[in-house]
């Protein structure tokens, strides 16, 4: 049972983000009205990287924000730990923007549901799109991603861990048995 399978290494993550940056630009026909919002915690790092990539391609700095979905979770009273609230920082008006939500793993879809609720409290975006580094399936809500770094079929008893330089000291995506966490 002792396996930790690396399914994406640093290069694979880098290439996926580069491709997704182009896809976002293609899908939105440029950067007009575009904004990125990273979901705490690793979505924030991914959003920063996408911003840098889009900046390098188009020469435009697009507004980037941070969203903390803790206060919008549907499992607060059921969770075994008290999640730390670290705050939302969106310094631009989201009204009429094309907002790309950025997260590391798309699983049940409940995080994204909470993020949508949180985002709508800030205004009325023109549209909301979703970018994830890994889509591992097992959705419990009608939610899908518009931009996916890698589709990764998994079993429910496996866990997918995204590790990023900014928070974990290295870039990789690993599949492990949930019991080992």
């Amino acid at each position: 049972m002792d396996y930790d399978r690396v399914v994406m290494d640093a290069q694979a993550i880098e290439r996926a983000l580069t491709r997704v940056a182009h896809e976002i630009l293609e899908g939105n026909k440029g950067t007009e009205g575009l904004a990125l919002i990273g979901i705490r915690s690793r979505g924030v790092h991914l959003a920063q990287r996408l911003r840098a990539k889009i900046g390098a391609i188009e020469g435009v700095e697009i507004p980037t924000g941070i969203i903390d979905i803790t206060l919008y979770r549907d499992d607060l009273s059921r969770s075994s730990q008290q999640p730390e609230v670290r705050g939302t920082h969106i310094s631009f008006a989201v009204d009429d923007r094309r907002v790309v939500l950025v997260d590391d793993v798309l699983y049940t879809g409940r995080t994204i549901r909470a993020a949508l609720d949180a985002l709508i409290d800030f205004g009325r975006p023109r549209n909301v799109q979703l970018m994830v580094l890994v889509d591992r399936g097992h959705r419990e809500l009608p939610i899908r991603a518009d931009y996916v770094g890698k589709n990764l079929p998994t079993a429910a008893n496996e866990s997918v861990q995204v590790r990023l330089m900014e928070s974990d000291g290295r870039d990789e995506v690993v599949i492990a048995h949930a019991e080992e966490r």
Binding site: L71, S80, Q81, Q82, E84, V85, G87, A118, F122, G123
Partner: protein, 335 residues
């Protein structure tokens, strides 16, 4: 790290880690009050009751705004308009409220220890909103949040607490928390308002200029005329001549000093109007931060993880016995 307290009764004995956790959580809640839509759904379906046996505008409305911004339902009771006027005891009132299954009770009472007494007798968290001359933990937390926002860190600061320390629950909570976080505390005022035991906690000064010399922070206390059964100083005029914080006195403090006051202010008595409204005053920041602090306290006490609740029910009996013993005895209001 989870928040370990079931109630918020005081800050005495609350660890540095727990204080920092509370402040960090409160910090992240500040942004919600800056939004167009100042509401998050976190405490939807929860009921918060406030039970006030003493007058209050800031604290009660601050708790109410905090609860509502977290989507909790808020029921407000004050002694003057409830069955208390018909002679109902605190315990009976609380038991009846408890039977309606609230998720938290916020209590302000003129007797020190009243919240501790209730904490052992109801099922929900009790939040102390000021008990006698004992503690006022959320006020101290908002003071800390305000100081930390201006001074980056609390450790190493010199904080002068000026005025009616004897009657001040704010001062007591401030002292506990400031010392835990590594600040140096001084007390300034006439000997009649500074009990001798204060020397255990910090320097005592009877001269305003000496007391605030090179201070980073000055916390002004209200002269509590309503709590003074007898005269502690010859006249209000004389008090203000020696202890009113004026522009002139401020020269003795550090150039970047900040001034706090828990309100309500007696302008011209303990603080001059131009100081209260001047550039060093952070009194309005305190009020703003009060909402964030109370949102954090409600969030942490009401939304407690299940695992933590389960381990607690085991020793519930022991806790009840312990806190009943620790609670100071309730006295009838004098007069």
């Amino acid at each position: 790290m989870p928040f370990e307290q079931r109630h918020l009764l005081g800050l005495e004995g609350v660890s540095r880690e727990q204080l920092m956790f509370l402040l960090n959580t409160a910090d992240s809640f500040r942004e919600i009050s800056e939004r167009d839509i100042k509401k998050v759904p976190t405490l939807r379906g929860k009921t918060v009751v406030s039970l006030f046996y003493e007058a209050s505008t800031r604290t009660r409305s601050s708790f109410e705004i905090a609860a509502k911004r977290m989507s909790a339902d808020f029921v407000s009771l004050s002694a003057s308009t409830s069955s208390v006027t018909k002679g109902e005891t605190l315990l009976d009132t609380a038991r009846n409220l408890n039977a309606m299954r609230p998720d938290a009770i916020i209590l302000r009472h003129y007797a020190s220890g009243a919240p501790h007494y209730l904490a052992a007798r109801v099922d929900c968290p009790i939040i102390n909103a000021g008990d006698g001359a004992h503690e006022h933990p959320t006020q101290a937390l908002l003071d800390l949040l305000t100081i930390r926002a201006r001074k980056a860190q609390i450790e190493g600061l010199t904080v002068a607490i000026v005025g009616d320390v004897l009657h001040s629950r704010v001062a007591r909570s401030d002292v506990f928390a400031l010392r835990t976080l590594g600040a140096t505390v001084r007390f300034v005022g006439p000997p009649t308002l500074l009990p001798p035991e204060l020397r255990e906690w910090g320097e005592v000064h009877h001269n305003l200029h000496e007391g605030i010399r090179a201070a980073d922070v000055i916390i002004m206390l209200r002269i509590q005329l309503e709590r003074q059964g007898k005269n502690f100083f010859p006249s209000v005029d004389e008090y203000s001549r020696y202890f009113c914080l004026t522009q002139n006195a401020l020269r003795y403090a550090k150039p970047d000093v900040i001034i706090l006051h828990p309100g309500p202010m007696n302008r011209g008595v303990e603080i001059a109007s131009d100081v209260a409204d001047g550039p060093y005053s952070v009194i309005m920041d305190q009020v703003t931060n009060g909402v964030a602090v109370r949102m954090a306290v409600l969030y942490l006490l009401i939304n407690r993880p299940r695992a933590q609740l389960e381990t607690e029910t085991v020793s519930e009996e022991a806790i009840a016995v312990e806190s009943a013993a620790a609670a100071p005895r309730l006295r009838r209001k004098a007069g």
